[in-house]
């Protein structure tokens, strides 16, 4: 008897419908084979399905079982076919018909339980788009699938429960979309008000967040660079629905949504260690997976100790940073992952870290300092608009000084200004395919970032004094544009230009 069950595979961010055809034949020697370009993980599915059925108070048929995964030329991987295969087999032996317009996906454990499986959201989205009505997934993945409305999502704890439902012996209610939405934007690890001192660096963070500028923080170890970076997601405007879905989809595909997890509403913050490989950072592999830059999509990618990252790894960031997405081509497929993130990086001023420190003498020679700074990839620095020095803070000065802590603004107040500035930018660039000041090209600058005469004069004077390259000139204008936006000023005044000059590169300059 032949049974057809529908399932879904993913290729990057795209879903592909898979027909799971299960033939249980009375003829031929008893056996169990899976065909249709199945990889190792899928092949192992045989053992899981066999044990799971046996441990669910059911008999595994001693007949010739052939499973075909179609289309047969697309490579299948992963464990999500366990559930549809088991359902196909049981339909033959237990005598029920598989419900129409239904998609099955999930991994089985040997005891018959259904485990959380990656990609549930993608499957639900595909199901809705293609007119399916029901989605059958493990209970732990049901919240994730239920984000999609207009289809019924059924979550099952184990195969036995699923069978009871399919046989009509037990009723299971469809999972409702989880109402519990993350407290938007407030889930950053640090609040700005928790960071003592660092007024200039906080201001830099605000400007960077408002204009989508990449920033580099330079300072002695322990000055609070990491803390500032971790506070960044909290001052970015909250994810809108579309962005939320995009991020959740990425995390779903890469298996980064925890069991019972639902829609991601907090801006991602990724801080890969400097030992990360290029594939880990950018994405790739034999079956291309998203890298850290994609997991930081719509959020913040923090590279701590920038000098320690291998140059080749950093230079691979270049293209995706320019494009906002990444295409990985392999012989069998080509996948596409979005990667539009804000880069926050930190670096020490010198190898020992204490150059310019008032607490400890620096032990580096100028040559060592030069070589150390040269290690940072120039092309990457080109893409950093905003540089800020983060000095060590004398904690004793603040100890017991409650007023200093009280005066510090909470992230929510900063976030409001940032959101306002972003709103201004959205209106300005409406229909121009860019969203933030950081993305402005020369044509945009001419149109949207005109300086007042006096501003022009000050910038020209600064350019000759600090020997600005053409690029540094443009970056200063971009930052001045954002500062003006934060001040809700259409014209870029002298004061905006002058403040922007504070954030020019002082230690790490692109060559």
């Amino acid at each position: 008897m032949l049974t057809k069950v529908f399932s879904v595979a993913n290729s990057g961010m795209d879903a592909i419908g898979i027909d799971v055809e299960v033939n249980v034949s009375n003829r031929g020697l008893p056996g169990f084979d899976i065909v249709g370009l199945a990889t190792k993980a899928v092949d192992e599915s045989r053992e899981r399905v066999r044990a799971a059925i046996a441990n669910s108070k059911m008999e595994f048929p001693q007949r010739k079982i052939t499973v075909n995964l179609a289309p047969a030329d697309f490579p299948k991987e992963g464990s999500s076919y366990d559930f549809p295969i088991a359902v196909g087999i049981l339909a033959s032996t237990a005598g029920f018909s598989v419900p129409e317009k239904s998609v099955f996906s999930g991994e089985l454990s040997l005891d018959g339980g259904l485990r959380h499986t990656r990609g549930a959201l993608l499957i639900a989205l595909y199901a809705k788009e293609r007119g399916f009505q029901n989605v059958f997934v493990p209970a732990e993945s049901a919240n994730e699938a239920a984000i999609v409305q207009g289809i019924k999502v059924y979550g099952f704890e184990c195969l036995e429960q699923a069978l009871a439902f399919l046989l009509g012996r037990e009723s299971v209610l469809p999972t409702r979309r989880s109402k519990e939405r993350g407290r938007r934007g407030e889930d950053a690890e640090f609040d700005m008000s928790e960071i003592l001192g660092q007024e200039l660096a906080k201001r830099a963070a605000e400007i960077a967040a408002a204009g989508g500028h990449n920033m580099l923080m330079v300072g002695t170890p322990g000055a609070g660079k990491t803390m500032l970076a971790r506070a960044l997601p909290g001052i970015l405007p909250p994810l809108n629905d579309e962005e939320s879905l995009e991020v959740t989809k990425l995390y779903s595909v890469s298996g980064n949504i925890p069991p019972e997890g639902a829609l991601i509403t907090a801006r991602p913050f990724r801080a890969p260690h400097h030992t990360i490989s290029q594939i880990g950072l950018i994405g790739g592999g034999q079956r291309p997976r998203p890298g850290e830059i994609s997991l930081a999509h719509r959020g913040v990618l923090f590279l701590d100790e920038l000098n320690e990252f291998p140059r080749s790894v950093l230079e691979a960031l270049r293209q995706p940073m320019e494009d906002g997405h990444l295409t990985i081509s392999r012989s069998m497929e080509r996948v596409w992952y979005p990667a539009r993130f804000m880069l926050a990086a930190s670096a020490n001023p010198c190898p020992c870290g204490y150059l310019g420190s008032s607490r400890r003498a620096c032990a580096c020679t100028p040559r060592e300092v030069r070589n150390y700074r040269k290690r940072v990839s120039g092309p990457l620095l080109d893409r950093v608009d905003l540089h800020v020095e983060v000095p060590e803070v004398d904690v004793e000065k603040f100890a017991g000084n409650q007023s200093a802590a009280k005066n510090a603004e909470p992230s929510s107040a900063v976030r409001e200004r940032v959101a306002m500035a972003r709103e201004i930018q959205a209106q300005r660039f409406g229909g121009e395919k860019i969203f933030t000041n950081a993305e402005m090209k020369n044509a945009h600058l001419k149109q949207h970032a005109r300086l007042t005469q006096e501003g022009e004069r000050i910038l020209a004077r600064a350019a000759s004094r600090y020997q600005f390259s053409a690029r540094a000139y443009v970056k200063t204008i971009k930052i001045a544009r954002t500062i003006a936006d934060l001040g809700e000023s259409e014209a870029i005044q002298v004061s905006h230009v002058a403040e922007a000059l504070q954030f020019r590169p002082k230690t790490y300059e692109p060559e």
């Binding site: 310019g356 020679t365 030069r370 000095p391 600064a462 002058a498 000059l501």
Partner: protein, 293 residues
């Protein structure tokens, strides 16, 4: 085969600096780059100090070495980074002359990334000197050798910032041995680069608090030095904030954050104001701290 060096002055040569000839262990010959003019050696001041100078050391060296050079005295130093380099640059900038004594063969620029300074020194009528020929590499024992030439060429030596057991103290030792005059610039006693200075002060070194102190010992009047703009005069009529900033910075160099706290002004306003003041030449920034001129 001996390479015949063209640019060399032997001890027997009449052109050999007489002050240097006086010392007991005078070098047998001096190799040089640049144009050898005897008047260069008439009045020399050695300026030496820490490699790891502070911003204070840099500022003081620039000021004193610049003024002394402008008055026509040749600044002699060791071309090392830090105070040495600053003294050379200050002399060049003030339109004065300077002599760099190398711890290595005359054909080597050490440290090599200061090639621009090397070029400037010879182009502005200064000299590069060494008692070592060709590509002789610098070694730990060549530095003290070099230091004796620096001290030997000069009527007086100024030490700005020196740690314990520093090269500058070795130079100061030669200064005493040759019976020349020793000036030091006092620094905060808490700084590690003040330890050598306090040691020298206790040993009877003279305090130099301005170029005048040194010029007096050469019997020279001050040169017409372009005075740094007086920030008070410059900003007397521009907002209160600038005046307050200058007042705070004159007392002690500060970061923007610290100024913001002291003056109770928002950091964005201070950033704007300080940028404009720096462009106007009223303040300057180094390693994150602002200084009043």
């Amino acid at each position: 085969m001996m390479v015949v060096e063209k640019n060399v002055v032997k001890k027997e040569d009449a052109r050999y600096p007489s002050l240097l000839r006086d010392i007991s262990d005078a070098p047998k010959q001096l190799y040089y780059k640049g144009e050898w003019r005897p008047e260069l050696f008439e009045q020399c001041l050695a300026v030496v100090g820490a490699r790891r100078m502070t911003s204070y050391g840099k500022k003081v060296t620039e000021q004193i070495a610049g003024e002394v050079a402008a008055a026509g005295i040749t600044i002699v130093s060791g071309f090392m980074y830090g105070i040495d380099e600053t003294a050379h640059r200050a002399a060049v900038r003030a339109g004065g002359k300077t002599i760099a004594v190398m711890p290595c063969g005359i054909n080597i620029i050490h440290p090599e990334y200061q090639a621009d300074l090397y070029r400037e020194i010879t182009e502005t009528g200064g000299l590069i000197l060494s008692e070592f020929a060709g590509n002789f590499p610098p070694a730990t024992w060549t530095y003290p050798k070099r230091n004796r030439i620096v001290a030997g060429l000069s009527q007086a030596t100024l030490v700005v910032e020196a740690g314990e057991r520093s090269g500058a103290l070795i130079t100061a030792g030669f200064v005493r041995k040759y019976g020349r005059k020793l000036f030091v610039v006092p620094g905060p006693i808490t700084s590690p680069v003040s330890r050598g200075i306090t040691q020298l002060l206790k040993g009877g070194a003279e305090v130099a608090s301005c170029a005048r102190d040194i010029l007096d010992s050469y019997g020279l009047p001050s040169a017409q030095v372009v005075a740094a703009p007086n920030p008070h005069a410059l900003h007397s009529d521009r907002g209160n904030l600038e005046g307050n900033i200058v007042r705070e910075l004159a007392r002690e160099p500060l970061r923007i954050d610290e100024l913001a706290r002291l003056l109770g002004a928002p950091v964005e306003l201070l950033g704007t104001t300080l940028s404009l003041m720096e462009l106007a030449g009223a303040v300057f920034e180094e390693q994150g701290k602002y200084y009043a001129h």
